[in-house]
Amino acid sequence: MTDITKEALSPPRSFLSQDAIQLFYRLLAVLLICAVLAVLNDSFLSLGNILNVLRQASLTFFIASGLTLVVLTAGLDLSVGANVALSACIAGTVIHTTGSPVLGILTGLACGGIVGLLNGVMVTALRIPSFIATYGMLWVLNGLTYWYMAGETLHGFPPGFRQIGSGYLFGLPIPVYLLLVFLGIGTLFAQRTIWGQEIYAIGANPVAARLSGIPVRRRLLLVYTVSGTMAGLASIIFLSRLNSAEADIGESLTLPAIAAVLIGGTSLFGGVGTVFGTFIGALILTLVLNGMNLLSVSANWQPLVTGIIVIIAVWLDMKTRRRAQ
């Protein structure tokens, strides 16, 4: 029996169906957590709480969606949280001084995008490993933000601007609409553009991608810039929701974003994962944290739980990967 016929006899194993199975497990987890929480706590199923969960999940998702693209290329962006803080503070200042929310929003997006571009330059041109380059960037941004704010808090923004983060439309919070929009855009970008396809190819095997004629460096620059811009977008939502900007708002954002990406099934080793998975990941994480909150577990437990979730998610990813190989 030649190996060709042997293969034809072996049952087909496609990765698409694998993906579907993985997604199914995650949706099951969402339902399970919801069921448990509904039993344990009456107020879980209240409309207010559900909307709250969705709004929280959307904030994590904005940061995590851009990060998903970075992780798909087998990189990491540890600076997203600090980027949100800097962008929020700068955007806030612009709104305060010019009185124009539009100008503020554009500045916030641009600030996030430039930081992302710088990350990309460090990774591609300077060839510093992404995790250490973006970790350095994290502290540079932290320092800049604290210096810029000098302990001040920006407070009070125009009501129209505050609608973005805290307003409602047809009974749903506006961030939820934004979530749907960017979930759609992200999914389309990743699945239905050739850039998205190339990003998957780069993550799956960067050497083969380069030798297949993909301009790897340019795509990596794009990916880090998008990740930074999404952090800039998140900063606007934060600013609008909190109605204030402080230097420390980014500190607790990075780990949950990474957790959401990893729980969502995006592999740290690149090439596998979806933006939709990250949405589910953000939802699972938010549900867990929300549930802890409802069950009166102190918020102090959140980093511990998030840290454990990150490690378990990576470990599961490595196990499935090893089986696939």
Binding site: I4, A8, S14, T193, A208, A209, R210, G213
Partner: protein
């Protein structure tokens, strides 16, 4: 010149180590077929053969890295087993690796005694004075005059090799296996190594020496064993043969398949012209020309610069000087430029460089053609799948569907996927680097038929192969490389295995 030309000097001394009837099979390849081999105390035994003749496999069986499927080992006449590197070490067999087993930032003494350091007075510490003294003694014994506290990282290749040898000797090695030890050495360093080998010989150490350089074979060897197709062809003494006779023993591999090839009467216009190409990767002044409708061979020994030429043309490695003209216009830049212009590279290690193993067959087939198939930038998975399905049918890739993970296909089908990816991209020049490595006979023949069809339709191919038979059967002509340069050009009527080996080897 017969198989019984055994013991040195004609005496019937007991061999230090004897291998009888060793066979080793890998899926699809018989790496060693009933090979017998004897090594006498204090001799240098040259192992000769083409790429893939079984030298490396024999070496790995000898040092316990591979377990032989069948056959027996005798050490000083007594039957022993070698199934692990530990077994081999116990018998005093040590391999001087080409990729060194040294720790770069430790000094020579620490490297020699890694894991066996003399204990100091404070528990856990190393007796610095003793380790240096013992290392010095060892280095003196092999005639290597150097301070043992020098950090290995600062040594040249030759000196690191010396340290490796000292390390082996410190483990009481009586048999040293060296795989092309002079490959990276200068003439001066080579002399030093030869002096050391002479000294080791005098101490009764036996050396198995793999080489591609005729001069070495005759200068150093006490006996020569020639391998071909995993079989032992002959055992001879240097005094009894001429270099030409050795070359003839090495070539003439069995032909186990037919090569489909319709040679064109007249090749088309020039498609690729490489002018005086020099690159930091180790090639200098390379001139190559490929015309439409041609399959041009690029041969030479492994490490002679063939792959480097291919990568430089494709833009995968930077070039220092020279010019590459493709389809009438000069070309430079990264691989994305080359691939847009219509050059395809089918790399040697298809798993690590040619494919994204965890992605589907379909994804891999369209990855180079995305820009061509979807000029708007919008990707349509269904249209991508249709393209992939077409290629699967056209190339007869055995896969349940385009959605199958490509890593689960056989080598031959994986290779077809790599080729298919460039068909989809509409490539005009296909550069193949060892296209049939690890592929079974049936698939090989299909791949050659495919290449033949490609060039018949006006494309061109540059084919690197270590299988001289393949080059001779399918190529219109061939360039032979040696040490980073084109050593010669063989037209269709000159294209014989003997000529390729002669040009590719180091005649001195």
């Amino acid at each position: 010149m017969n198989a019984h030309a055994n013991a040195p000097g004609g005496t019937s001394a007991v061999p230090l180590l004897q291998l009888r009837g060793i066979s080793k099979e890998f899926p699809g390849v018989k790496a060693l077929d009933d090979v017998s081999f004897a090594l006498y105390p204090g001799e240098v035994h040259m192992l000769l053969g083409e790429n893939g003749a079984g030298k490396s496999s024999l070496m790995k069986v000898l040092c316990g890295a591979y377990k032989a499927d069948s056959g027996e080992f005798f050490f000083k006449g007594e039957k022993v087993t070698i199934t692990s590197t530990a077994d081999a070490q116990k018998l005093g067999i040590a391999v001087i690796f080409q990729e060194f087993s040294l720790v770069p930032y430790l000094d020579i003494a620490q490297n020699i005694f890694l894991g066996r350091e003399p204990k100091g007075r404070i528990p856990g510490t190393i007796d610095r004075r003793k380790i240096l003294a013992e290392a010095k003694g060892l280095l003196d014994a092999i005639g290597f005059d150097i301070d043992p506290s020098v950090v290995v990282n600062t040594l040249g290749v030759a000196q690191q090799q010396m340290v490796e040898i000292a390390k082996a000797i410190s483990q009481n090695a009586r048999i040293l296996v060296m795989d092309e030890p002079t490959a990276a050495l200068s003439d001066r360093e080579t002399e030093l190594l030869f002096a050391l080998i002479a000294r080791l010989k005098a101490d009764g150490v036996s050396i198995v020496y793999i080489s591609h350089r005729m001069a070495e074979v005759f200068a150093l060897g006490d006996r020569i064993t020639v391998l071909r197709d995993g079989r032992r062809i002959d055992g001879v003494k240097p005094a009894d043969v001429t270099p030409d006779q050795l070359v003839r023993m090495m070539v003439g591999r069995t032909v186990d398949m037919t090569y489909p090839r319709n040679f064109a009467d007249k090749p088309g216009e020039v498609l690729l012209q490489v002018k005086n190409l020099t690159a930091p990767s180790g090639i200098s002044d390379v001139n190559i020309e490929v015309r439409r409708g041609e399959i041009v061979g690029l041969c030479g020994l492994v490490g002679s610069g063939r792959t480097e030429v291919a990568r430089a043309i494709f833009g995968a490695d930077p070039i220092a000087s020279g010019e590459i003209v493709f389809d009438g216009k000069p070309i430079s830049g990264e691989p994305d430029v080359a691939s847009r212009r219509g050059i395809a590279l089918i790399p040697e290690s298809r798993k690590s460089e040619g494919l994204a193993l965890l992605r589907s067959v379909g994804d891999n087939l369209v990855v180079s053609a995305l820009r061509k198939l979807f000029p708007s930038g919008l990707f349509d998975p269904r249209s991508g799948l249709r393209t992939a399905d077409g290629l699967i049918r056209q190339l007869r890739i055995a896969t349940p569907s385009a959605r199958q993970t490509v890593g689960l296909l056989s080598g031959g089908n994986q290779q077809k996927v790599v080729i298919g990816k460039w068909l989809a991209a509409g490539a005009k020049l296909f550069i193949f680097d060892e296209p049939t490595r690890g592929i079974d006979v049936g698939a090989k023949s299909e791949i050659f038929a495919l290449i033949d069809r490609l060039v018949a339709e006006g494309a061109a191919a540059l084919m690197i192969s270590s299988e001289q038979v393949e080059i001779c059967h399918v190529c219109d002509r061939a360039y032979v490389m040696r040490e980073g340069r084109v050593a010669g050009h063989l037209a269709r009527n000159e294209l014989t295995e003997e000529n390729i080996v002669r040009l590719g080897m180091h005649h001195a």
